[in-house]
């Protein structure tokens, strides 16, 4: 199989996983399972980003959303909400309203996509599809560190260092605020 066929197969696999998991996020009532399905959906969307050729955005999606936000969300829910948030039931009236709103939005988007005035085929966009792709992470990293092909171009080394020092200060402040408070009065000897 050629590259185009593999691209199509991988796209449809990722798309089915992303859309199916997103629907399961809506249908699941258990909040931890919702977060787990959202994790699967966001991972599949990161795979779609890799397929487009945006490797940096795909890696950022995996690191920030999947690795950071969702794990924090799952840990927060599991550590704090034990009773009322574990299982949530949605009333039938809300399901009806949401179905109407969702169906209307979906019909609007499908009508837009099937508009004969817009040519969505790749041929009409082939000139624009020659944009550079792949290995964007390396060029972004080099630009952050000030290594540019053009020596006269401005680098991002100073903002990068300012951001890193800022994050370090925030980390120290968070550790200071979150530390356990010591008792002011010493324990009485028995």
């Amino acid at each position: 199989m050629n590259e185009t066929t593999w691209h199509s197969i991988l796209f449809w696999i990722m798309a089915l996983i992303a859309c199916g998991s997103a629907v399961l996020v809506v249908l699941t009532s258990n909040i931890v399972r919702m977060a787990a399905w959202l994790l699967v959906s966001l991972s599949a969307v990161a795979g779609l980003f890799f397929l487009i050729g945006a490797d940096f955005v795909g890696a950022a999606q995996l690191l920030i959303y999947v690795g950071g936000t969702l794990v924090l969300l799952i840990f927060g829910v599991m550590l704090t909400a034990s009773g009322p948030l574990a299982n949530l039931t949605t009333p039938s009236r809300d399901w009806l309203i949401a179905a109407i709103v969702g169906s209307s939005l979906m019909i609007l988007l499908i009508l837009t996509l099937t508009n004969p005035g817009i040519d969505w085929s790749t041929d009409s966009l082939s000139d624009n599809l020659e944009a550079p792709s792949g290995k964007t992470t390396m060029s972004i990293g080099l630009a952050l560190l000030g290594i540019r092909e053009n020596p006269n171009a401005s680098s991002y080394l100073l903002p990068f260092e300012i951001a890193s020092v800022h994050l370090l200060v925030v980390l120290i402040g968070a550790a200071y605020l979150a530390r356990a408070k010591r008792r002011s009065d010493p324990p009485t000897p028995t």
Binding site: A18, A35, T90, L113
Partner: protein
């Protein structure tokens, strides 16, 4: 770069967007609404990324008249 065309990506984005909106409408707690917002934002990220990959915003500008009421009225007849 995208041999299968643009519309499959937009269909996936549409499904994610609708799922996020329905999630925001049905869940009755802040965490559920936050998950719906994350789905919608993920869709927006994918659309912006597609625009960047295509190199211009022309196809998005072409979409805007389709959302007008006159076009919808004509389409729904």
């Amino acid at each position: 770069m995208t041999p299968i065309g643009l519309s499959p990506y937009l269909i996936v984005g549409a499904v994610l967007f609708v799922a996020g909106v329905v999630c925001m409408a049905t869940k009755r707690n802040a965490v559920g609404i936050l998950m719906g917002v994350e789905l919608v934002l993920t869709r927006q990220t994918s659309i912006l990324l597609l625009s960047t990959v295509l190199g211009n915003w022309g196809w998005m500008v072409k979409c805007l008249p389709c959302l007008s009421s006159s076009w919808l009225r004509q389409r729904l007849r």
